[in-house]
Amino acid sequence: MSLLDFFRTTKPSTASAAKERLQIIVAERRQQGEALPAYLPQLKKDILEVLAKYVNADPNMVKISLEHSDDNLSVLELNVTLPDDDESA
């Protein structure tokens, strides 16, 4: 940095702007790019079969989703809605 630059007001770093913009588009691309694993439908079917032993299983009871969050972390979310007590009893 030359002496003249020293007296100029410091500009915000353009590199950090570039990084932020890239992180957003890359994260979007990676979410689109990664298809859901092929085993998910089979996993759902197996879970339903086990549930059917104990409760009245309905295909809509199980909701499975896979989310990619940070760098190396994927979250498998499993949501099971059990039928009302009086039905299952």
Partner: protein, 270 residues
């Protein structure tokens, strides 16, 4: 088995051909029998960077069409007896690149005892680029510290993970290496350029090397001598380090920090 390595980037002008020539020459200098193939059909340039443009008789497309044998088309490098160049055609249609033809050439190179086959990809994601990456075991993603180049590199990583032979056959994925070219540490310090760490954080693949922005690269291509032969030049040394890492050596990164400026330069700039 020969290691088939594609040098790719998506974006044009980032240094794929310069890097292909430098890395192939570096591998040959280190004693590895290496072939380098120009996949940029219709726009051949690898021959010029390697200084063998006057010695091209037959090309890749002649071999694919059965008009010449692979041995007839391969040009032996003048500087290293371990390096052979398969030039692209200058005129013909890129549709000549068929999957069967490319596979045939690669397996012949393997039978001829080549240890490394470097595939210099054209820019873009069209047929020529897809053929260059399809059979690759490894990929060197050439990236400039600049937004459009980083984005295109990410796109190419997605294609390697989905459309390569290894992806289609469910084999071990293509091994990815990041090669950052035209890096300027002083501009990074000034907050004007993405740093190595920034790019690594975004692309998240292992780093093979960082080549500094250097006058020696243009000087080398002017002469038709791969920059890796410029032993005193920063870029030449950085390519040598990258080649050493490719064959498993552990080398510290050089030329990633800005040089200290003298007091006079600090005051008067420049």
């Amino acid at each position: 088995m020969a290691r088939i390595i594609v040098v790719t980037s998506g974006k044009g002008g980032v240094g794929k051909t310069t890097s292909s020539a430098a890395i192939a020459s570096g591998l040959a200098l280190a004693g590895h029998k290496t072939a380098v193939i120009d996949f940029d059909i219709g726009l051949r340039n690898l021959d010029l960077i390697l200084g063998c443009e006057r010695r091209v008789v037959y090309d890749f497309v002649n071999v694919l069409n059965g008009e010449a044998s692979l041995q007839q088309a391969l040009i032996k490098d003048k500087r290293s007896e371990n390096l052979f160049i398969l030039p692209a055609s200058q005129t013909r249609d890129k549709d000549a690149l068929t999957m069967e033809g490319v596979q045939q050439v690669l397996s012949e190179l393997d039978q001829l005892g080549f240890e490394f086959v470097i595939c210099d990809s054209p820019a873009g994601i069209e047929h020529g680029a897809m053929m260059a990456l399809y059979f690759a075991d490894e990929a060197i993603i050439t990236t400039n510290p600049e937004v459009s180049s980083v984005r295109d590199s990410d796109r190419i990583l997605g294609i390697l993970d989905a459309k390569s032979k290894r992806a289609e056959k469910g084999l071990e994925p293509v091994k990815q290496h990041l090669l950052i070219t035209r890096y300027n540490p002083s501009r990074v310090d000034a907050g004007e350029m993405l740093s190595v760490d920034d790019i690594l954080e975004i692309l998240n693949i292992p780093l093979l090397g960082v080549i500094p922005e250097s006058q020696s690269v243009l000087n080398a291509s002017n002469k038709g001598v791969p920059v890796v032969f410029e032993e005193q030049a920063d870029a030449g040394q950085a390519y040598q380090d990258a080649v050493a890492r490719l064959v498993g050596e552990d080398k510290p990164m050089r030329y990633v920090k800005a040089e200290k400026k003298s007091l006079l330069k600090r005051i008067f700039g420049g």
